[in-house]
Assembly symmetry: C2
Homo-oligomer: 222 residues x 2
C-alpha cells in the first residue's frame, strides 16, 4: 500500500511514517499541498492524507484540486479539533474521511483500512499482484491483455483471490463454487483449475495456483 502524507509538522509526519512502515506500507511525505499535487501526477498512491493547515496550499484547496483533476484516490483530511465545524465542508469537498488531532495511530490505521476497503469494493474489481478481475464484466485484466472469462473460470478465480494466501480444499470448491457435495466421481475442479492455470500463465508468465499435496490449492504470489 502506497500512502502519501502532506503534513508540514515534521514530528507528526515522521511518527505516522514510522508507524505505517511498521505495518508494511510505503510512505511518501511532502510538506505542503502544492508538492502533493505535483507528486500525484507522477506516482500512484492508494491513500492520500492531507493536513488541513499547510503553507503554500492548504489541505482543503488541495483536496478540491485533486478532485477537479479527476484523481479518485481516497483522501483523508487531518483537522484540529477547533476546525471541526468545517466537517461538512470537508466531506462536501470530496474527502472520504477526516480525523481530528490529536489522534492515536490505531484510529488512523482503522480509518485508512476502512476507506481503502470501501474504495476497492466500490470499484467492483479484485486486485492481486498485477492482475485485476472485473466483477461485473467478468473480465480478467493483465499487463498483456484483457479477456472475458467463462462463467466457471470466473467464479473459481474470484474464489481464489478472495481466499488468497490460505489453503482451499477441494471439497470447499465443490461446495462453494459448484454447489455440489464432494464426490469422487468427478474431477471438474481439477479440469477447470488446469484451464485457469493455463490462461493465467499465458497472460502473466506467473504461477499463482500452487497445489498442496493432500490438502488443496493455494493462491499466492509466484
Amino acid at each position: 500500500m502506497q500512502i502519501l502524507i502532506a503534513e508540514d509538522d515534521k514530528s507528526i509526519a515522521n511518527s505516522l511514517k514510522k508507524n505505517f512502515e511498521g505495518e508494511g506500507f510505503h510512505v511518501t511525505i511532502v510538506d505542503n499541498g502544492q508538492k502533493a499535487l505535483d507528486i500525484v501526477e507522477k506516482l500512484e498512491f492508494n491513500i492520500i492524507i492531507l493536513d488541513w493547515r499547510m503553507p503554500v496550499l492548504n489541505g482543503i484547496d488541495t483536496c478540491k484540486e485533486l478532485k477537479l483533476r479527476g484523481i479518485e484516490t481516497p483522501i483523508i483530511l487531518l483537522t484540529a479539533l477547533s476546525e471541526i465545524s468545517n466537517k461538512v465542508e470537508a466531506l462536501n469537498l470530496g474527502a472520504d474521511d477526516y480525523i481530528t488531532k490529536p489522534f492515536s495511530f490505531e484510529e488512523v490505521l482503522a480509518r485508512i483500512k476502512a476507506v481503502h476497503r470501501r474504495y476497492e469494493t466500490s470499484l467492483n474489481e479484485l486486485f492481486f499482484e498485477n492482475i485485476t478481475l472485473h466483477l461485473i464484466t467478468h473480465e480478467l485484466e493483465t499487463p498483456k491483455e484483457k479477456v472475458k472469462l467463462p462463467e466457471k473460470e470466473f467464479e473459481l478465480l474470484k474464489y481464489f483471490i478472495e481466499n488468497k494466501g490460505s489453503i482451499i480444499t477441494k471439497d470447499k470448491l465443490y461446495k462453494d463454487v459448484w454447489n455440489l457435495q464432494f464426490t469422487t466421481t468427478t474431477n471438474v475442479v481439477e479440469a477447470t483449475v488446469k484451464n485457469l492455470r493455463k490462461k493465467l500463465e499465458e497472460l502473466t508468465s506467473q504461477k499463482f495456483i500452487k497445489t498442496i499435496y493432500g490438502e488443496g490449492y493455494l493462491f499466492i504470489s509466484d
Copy 2:
C-alpha cells in the same frame, strides 16, 4: 423512497416530513428508538434518520441494535453541535452519515441522496419494478424465482435497465452490447430479445420490453 424518522422533537420531525413529502418521498415518524426498532421489523425503508437524543432508547443505541440485527438500510444520525466530539463513535457504530443541528433542509436532502446513491451502487444490484438484476452473479431475481442469466441476456437486460424509459435503437444495441457494426445480415438482437422477453414474462407475468415500430425498443413498466 421510504424514509423512517425517529425524532422526539415534533416540530423538527414535522418540518422534515413536510419537506420530504414535497420531494415525493414517503415518511414515517416515530418518537423514540424502540418504536423505530419495532417498525423496522415490519416495514422496509430506504433510509433511517435517528435523533441522537431520544427518550426510552437513544439514537446511538438504536443504531447499534439495528446493525446487530443485520439491518443494512443506511442510517443518518442527527446530533446537536455540542455532541459532536462523538462523531467517531457515530461512524464506528455503523452510521453512514450524520448531520448536526441546526441544519438546513437542503443539507439533509443532499446527504440523504448521497448516502442512498452510495448504498445502491455498493449493493451491485439494479432495480426495476419488482425485479432485481445482480451485477456480480448475473442472476435475475423476481418474486417467483432467481435464475442465472446467460451472458448475452444479462448484458442486454443490464443495458435495458440502465436505459429504461427511453427508446433504444437496434444499432445502439449492436454497437454497445454486441460490439458490431449495424448489419442487416444478422438478427441476433431480435433473437435474444425474444428469449429475454419469454424469460421475463414467465417470471413476472409482465411485459417490460415494448417495441416501437421503426425506432427500437423501450424498457418500461407494463
